[in-house]
């Protein structure tokens, strides 16, 4: 495919989401170019991101629900064994970090870990396969294959990571207020770390710190996955016989990255929520 277009066109094609939205001139439609997608502004949706993330989430739900339905305290089957290993891993992490009673935290951590891991794993699918398939399908439906975009790794879309981070942020605010009351929460923002005489400074520091939580959560995951994806795309620009020399080591290394990023997202979520429960 790289031979059909310039390198930069190839890269930007791979970095453009399949966007559907209200274009100021073309009305409700799929964006034909990255430019058009940008022009759609907020009222557009990344169909590929939604498709893959919801699909993978459904896979997670389906697999775990299947085990949950037949869960036995006797000898577990191989799937149950696998699922139990993940659940115990998550439970260990939650109980070692989070010392309050809250039925939401552990399932939340499990969902984040598995879902993010699955979304990240899409990075290991060779970069051209699914976009190529999508182009063929698009062609079959009468679309110009050059304008059919398909980004298969949802976590390389800032919307996906920010969406999760904002949801976590909402939980942080909710539990901060629930555990400490509005006054307690505001006091925490205003009177720390330097006492009440430096209130404006404290307020500034704490609000920045608070806002940094979701932003760092989202950007860390997004940045890592985006960079990893970018390198796969760059490797794909090499002649086909030389690609494996770089893509294989990078993919192997990436197995570590995708697991680690899923783990970090989960652990930081637990830590932030534990901090939200903490009363000073």
């Amino acid at each position: 495919m790289a031979s059909e277009m310039t390198s930069s066109a190839y890269i930007s094609h791979h970095l453009t989401n399949l966007t559907f939205g209200a274009h100021p001139e073309n009305g409700l439609s799929f964006a034909q170019t990255a430019q058009e997608a940008a022009e759609m502004g907020f009222w557009a949706i990344h169909v590929d991101t939604m498709l893959w993330s919801v699909g993978l989430g459904m896979f997670f739900i389906w697999m775990f629900r299947k085990v949950a339905k037949t869960a036995t305290s006797g000898v577990p089957g191989s799937t149950q064994n696998f699922v139990e290993t993940i659940i115990e891993f998550v439970e260990d992490n939650v109980t070692s970090i989070f010392h309050y009673k809250n039925a939401l935290i552990a399932p939340l951590a499990l969902t984040i870990f598995v879902w993010v891991f699955l979304m990240n794993t899409m990075d290991l699918v060779p970069v051209d396969w699914l976009p190529f398939l999508a182009q063929k399908i698009g062609e079959a439906f009468g679309a110009d294959p050059h304008h059919v975009y398909m980004k298969v790794v949802p976590t390389t879309d800032i919307n996906a990571t920010l969406g999760m981070a904002f949801a976590v942020f909402a939980l942080i605010i909710y539990y901060s207020i629930k555990m400490k009351g509005v006054g307690g929460f505001l006091a925490e923002l205003a009177f720390q770390p330097l006492g009440k005489w430096l209130l404006p400074f404290n307020l500034f520091l704490e609000i920045v710190g608070l806002l940094a939580k979701p932003v760092s959560l989202a950007l860390r995951l997004f940045g890592n996955m985006y960079a990893g994806e970018m390198i796969f795309i760059l490797i794909a620009l090499l002649p086909f016989w030389a690609q494996w020399l770089l893509s294989v080591p990078w993919a192997i290394f990436h197995i570590l990255v995708i697991t680690l990023q899923a783990f970090i997202f989960m652990v930081l979520t637990i830590v932030y929520l534990a901090m939200a429960h903490e009363d000073h």
Binding site: F42, W43, I87
Partner: protein, 156 residues
């Protein structure tokens, strides 16, 4: 890199997955895990108990065996003693019987001898009388000399 509606969609999807997980995935699986933990603990307990029971049973079996061995030994000893006693008794009885037989025989012999002596004596008396008659050519009044004859017979 455009921030758009996708972010809302993601939040909704995320919330759905978390709630589903919290309601339908987490509780059954952790429940099964907790139950298995309990089962395993119970199983280990039962194994310990069984081990202890086994040891007790073995001890009891050993002591029972020792006791029955002792009993058997006592019975054998008693039987031996009894057997010896019976043999001794039999020996004693046999000896007594033999003695009795010997004594009876002796008595009979004595009696027989006496009787022979008596017969002999009376015959000797008659012989003496007859002899004397022949010598004296006269009859001797047997009654008158009975005393004399008897004295003579007794001296034989």
């Amino acid at each position: 890199m455009n921030i758009n509606l996708t972010i809302i969609g993601q939040i909704i999807a995320f919330a759905f997955f978390v709630v589903f997980c919290m309601k339908y995935v987490w509780p059954p699986i952790t429940g099964a895990l907790a139950e298995r933990k309990k089962k395993i603990a119970e199983g280990l307990d039962a194994a310990d108990r069984a081990q202890r029971d086994l040891e007790l049973a073995q001890e009891k079996a050993m002591s029972d065996m020792r006791k029955s061995k002792e009993e058997a030994a006592a019975v054998i000893e008693q039987a031996n003693k009894r057997a010896n006693q019976i043999v001794d008794e039999a020996k004693e009885k046999a000896r007594e019987e033999a003695e009795r037989l010997v004594t009876a025989a002796q008595a009979e012999i004595d009696q027989e001898a006496n009787r022979a002596k008596e017969a002999l004596r009376s015959q000797v008396a008659a012989l003496v009388v007859a002899g004397a008659e022949k010598i004296l050519e006269a009859s001797v009044d047997a009654d008158a000399h009975a005393q004399l004859v008897e004295k003579l017979a007794a001296e034989l």
